[in-house]
Amino acid sequence: MSAGAPPPSLSPSAGGDLAVAVPPPSVDDARLASRERWRLLWHSKTFIAGVVIVGFWILCAIFGKAIAPKDPFAADPLNSLVSPGSAYWFGTDRLGRDVFSRVIVGARDILIVAPLATLLGTVLGTALGLITGYFRGAVDDVLSRIIDAFLAVPVVIIALLAIVALGPSKVALIIVIGVVFAPIIARTVRAAVLSERELEYVSAARLRNERTPYILFAEILPNVMGPVLVEFTVRLGYAVFTVATLSFLGFGIQPPAPDWGLQVFEHFGLISGGYWWPVLFPAAAIASLVIGVNLLADGLTQAFER
């Protein structure tokens, strides 16, 4: 009598069939379901932590100048590279600018560029995903191979090439990151559309002779918004990181902006001299924002994929 897994006749299907035992939703239950989803979200520690972190940086982005104790752009050569202390909480950089104030104010650029880039990528990617998923056949084959080719090359390399061609500006940054992200989002949306298009409400729409754009955007799109939303938050985390990376490489936001990636770029050579604060604090800011966004994404994923 070996004590192995439970008998096969019970175990393999149990996961799927338990759903049968869960009582079917009634009129009340269905109405409560979406309310329930939000309630669940607000009870999720992950999601709340994300909201707190991201919320903090959004406040900094909006009211940065008012919160910052000093002028983030005021150079003070006499007080350059002062270590953190009571006068300068995060110390000063090589031009004597207050690092704390620059970190607070630096939230603005990244929080404009990253979400707009992600939004652009999500809109493009969703449209692409709807089209490839719905038509399949030749359209899908061609577009999907292009997407595959795009995905094969590292994002930063493509972005670098494009920025070099377009010249660095915030608009260029938004467009480039948006376009680079679109194929990735298109893949997720396509997968959702593939199963959605087989449902008979799509046939019913065709039997009313609806135009294809109506079927795609009015009938199918609302039903794939869950994955789209999740994908948006996940990509937002990557976008923050990509913006910071490009700035660090000198192709993103340009000086004298107090951008975090730029600050790290301007000072990382000084670390060996013991001047760690102008690098560490902006780097920590980048990390916290990425983590915050990812916590939000996790919370949403859990709530929507139940």
Partner: protein, 706 residues
């Protein structure tokens, strides 16, 4: 373990006042409300009821496999005298290994897709302590026992390479491998074709005779329970309302719910013009609702004050037949909730609405041509219902989709609407043609956009099909909702907030929005409970009488087709095998394939006819059999002529066509008796798999592996 076990032996299963609740949003909601029943050793007990009444919950409670939010709140469950609820986890595990087996509805989900069938079955023996080679041998014997003709070959296969019926045999083999004290079958044939269902039920019955296994059979299908069980318990809202020997309960029901349920079924050849189906008014009480008195009181036509004041006790009617009704003596006088009078069919006068001639539909798959619809010529008259029957894969749905223009028929097919050729694809059809042909799909959950309100769904259909705007559209929308008896107060609900029957009403309303000439009904009631099905069928009949619409009614449920259809077309492998008036096709003589289909239907009324079983699977469309395509499975196989010559569709009597080499007189004579089992030497070997593995061409491969 025989039926004649000494009386001191404990019953195989004993449930005593079991209450099970699910915790939903922090509140415990009762699902089973004091269920008690006993299954004697070797007995077969049926649990019947509509969805949501707690059948599956009972099964899961018996194997202590409730979902995490479920709990047995009260009562006791004893398996062979042992208290299940007091057992340790390990003891429960041992019980599942050795004594209780369960077979689920979906065999595909119960088999591991990555393990070969042989190893999966052998695993059961290995867990019970057999050596590897011994386990393999016993697995082979077990598969042979469930009538798998070539166990060695099946053992090397994976689950997806077997058909549904074959998969379910394997699951049953695994369940019986340990010689269980109790076998629980939870809707074991619900997803299967009627012909396959018949085979699986025969198998279970034969195994029970041989092994004397005790069976708990759970089904929503009264006919299946009637065929398979000794005793039956009727479950409603988590309570057994009536219990007793199967024949006694079904022939002489003594609870208004059982009476109503049996009246909902189209039985004994009743037809739409003679009698409307009865329905059960109202809805199942909400989950966890407070039901202090009789659970059925809100829907019962016999209810009096006492029914909502006091919970009735079981009244003993002798022979173990018990009813939980204060008025069990009057139960059969339950007033009808739908008027009895049939609906006079509008006389069509033969004017054709749809006419097809030499209609073909060919799919190309991996360079191979698959003819899903082969040379079909049909006429559908005004106000007429044409029933389309056949096993899955016979081309019913493909035919319908080609008519609708969703997957257009091949070039050269003649498809006419009121004498004009219809364009193939829907996009090329004019507005009039688009609104003339509509469909009601099988599953309203998939057919209604779950993000849209009922109002938006219907308003859009009216706008697109009739060009309605503004006030006019609102007026028409209300009329439309009214015509399908949909409560206008629910018009702003989303589909998920509605019951299955209400959703299907919305889908029907949408199909009727453009005042169509023809509505295709693709299994419109097979996802619904019987009481809801009856109401929907009545509605379809009434709408037809009012609007003079024609139906193309696709169903695998022959009783439903017989009730509704004026004429019937029987399809096999994309070909029309028989066509004729409903009574002609159902009466004798019929085509051998129709004969087999009819014979596979279980009957609650216990009417006995010669039983014919179709063995093997439907042959592949890619490589149809030579001659008559049915010859590989035909119970009335003649010989070489069937193998070599394809019979033409001939008119054997006025209005009655079939495709068979037999003459009508020969079949009339033959069909008085059951056919002899086909000589295994001459009969082509029943295929073990759904498709022969090589060539894999017929298997659609998902394109674009990256």
């Amino acid at each position: 373990m025989t039926v004649q076990s000494p009386p001191i032996a404990p019953p195989a299963l004993d449930l005593e006042d079991v209450e099970v609740a699910y915790r939903v949003r922090g509140i415990w909601r009762p699902v089973l409300r004091g269920v008690s029943f006993t299954i004697a050793d070797g007995e077969s007990y049926g649990l019947v009821g509509e969805s949501g009444c707690g059948k599956s919950t009972a099964a899961f409670a018996i194997v202590r496999y409730l979902p995490r939010n479920g709990r047995v709140m009260k009562g006791s469950i004893a398996v062979a005298g042992e208290d299940l609820l007091a057992m340790s986890e390990e003891a429960v595990r041992q019980m599942r290994i050795n004594r209780v087996s369960m077979v689920y509805q979906n065999p595909g989900g119960a088999l591991n897709p990555t393990i070969r069938i042989g190893d999966q079955v052998a695993e059961v023996f290995a867990i019970a302590g057999a050596s590897a080679s011994e386990a393999q041998d016993r697995a082979r014997q077990m598969l042979a026992k469930v009538q798998i003709s070539d166990p060695g070959r099946v053992m090397r296969r994976y689950a997806h390479q077997l058909s549904g019926g074959m998969q379910q045999r394997v699951v049953i083999a695994m369940a019986l491998a340990k010689d269980p004290t109790l076998l629980i079958l939870d809707e074991p044939t619900t997803g299967l074709d009627a012909t396959v269902e018949a085979e699986v039920l025969d198998l279970v019955a034969a195994l029970r005779r041989e092994l004397g296994t005790t069976v708990l059979f759970i089904s929503h299908n009264l006919d299946v329970i009637a065929q398979m069980c000794d005793r039956v318990g009727v479950l409603y809202a988590g309570r057994i309302v009536e219990e007793g020997p199967v024949r006694s309960v079904f022939d002489n029901p003594r609870h208004p719910y059982s009476v109503g349920l049996l009246r909902c079924l189209p039985r004994g050849g009743v037809r739409k013009d003679r009698q409307r189906l009865d329905t059960i008014p109202g809805f199942l009480p909400q989950l966890g609702a407070d039901l202090p008195a009789c659970v059925f009181v809100d829907r019962c036509g016999l209810a009096q004050d006492v029914c909502s004041a006091r919970e009735p006790d079981f009244h003993d009617l002798g022979d173990g037949h018990r009813s939980r009704c204060h008025f069990f003596e009057q139960a059969q006088t339950l007033p009808r909730s739908a008027p009895a009078a049939g609906v006079a069919a509008p006389q069509n006068g033969g004017e054709p609405v749809i006419r097809t001639e030499h209609m073909n539909k060919t799919f190309r798959q991996e360079g191979q041509e698959i003819r899903a619809v082969d040379d079909i010529s049909l006429v559908l008259g005004r106000g007429e219902t044409l029933g389309l029957v056949g096993e899955s894969g016979s081309g019913k749905t493909t035919l319908a989709r080609a008519l609708l223009g969703l997957t257009p028929a091949d070039q050269g097919s003649i498809v006419e609407l009121e004498g004009r050729q219809l364009a193939g694809p829907i996009a090329k059809r004019g507005q009039e043609d688009v609104r003339a042909l509509q469909i009601v799909f099988q599953n309203p959950d998939a057919a209604l956009n779950r993000r849209f309100s009922v109002h938006r769904i219907l308003a859009r259909a009216l706008a697109k099909l009739r060009g309605d705007r503004g006030r006019e559209r609102e007026t028409h929308l209300r009329e439309l909702a009214h015509s399908v008896r949909f409560d206008v107060r629910l018009i702003n609900s989303r589909p998920a907030q509605l019951s299955g029957g209400l959703k299907q009403r919305v889908a029907i309303a949408r199909a009727f929005a453009g005042e169509p000439r023809v509505v295709v009904c693709d299994e419109p009631t097979s996802a619904l409970d019987v009481s809801v099905q009856a109401a929907i069928l009545n509605l379809l009949v009434e709408l037809q009488a009012e609007k003079g619409v024609s139906y193309l009614f696709i169903s695998h449920d022959l009783a439903v087709v017989r009730y509704l259809a004026d004429r019937i077309a029987v399809l096999y492998l994309g070909r029309l095998m028989e066509l004729g008036g409903a009574e002609t096709v159902f009466g004798s003589p019929h085509h051998p394939y129709t004969e087999a289909l009819l014979s596979s239907v279980p009957q609650a009324d216990g009417e006995s006819r010669p039983r014919i079983r179709l063995h093997g699977e439907i042959p592949s469309h890619a490589d149809p059999p030579s001659g008559c395509v049915f010859h590989t499975r035909c119970p009335r196989f003649i010989g070489d002529v069937c193998v070599n010559e394809e019979p033409s569709l001939k008119e054997v009597e006025p209005g009655h066509f079939w495709r068979c080499h037999h003459s009508i007189d020969a079949l009339r004579e033959m069909q008085r008796t059951a056919p002899p089992e086909r000589d295994p030497e001459r009969a082509p070997e029943p295929a073990a798999e759904a498709e022969p593995l090589p060539p894999p061409a017929a298997d659609p491969q998902p394109g674009g592996a990256s």
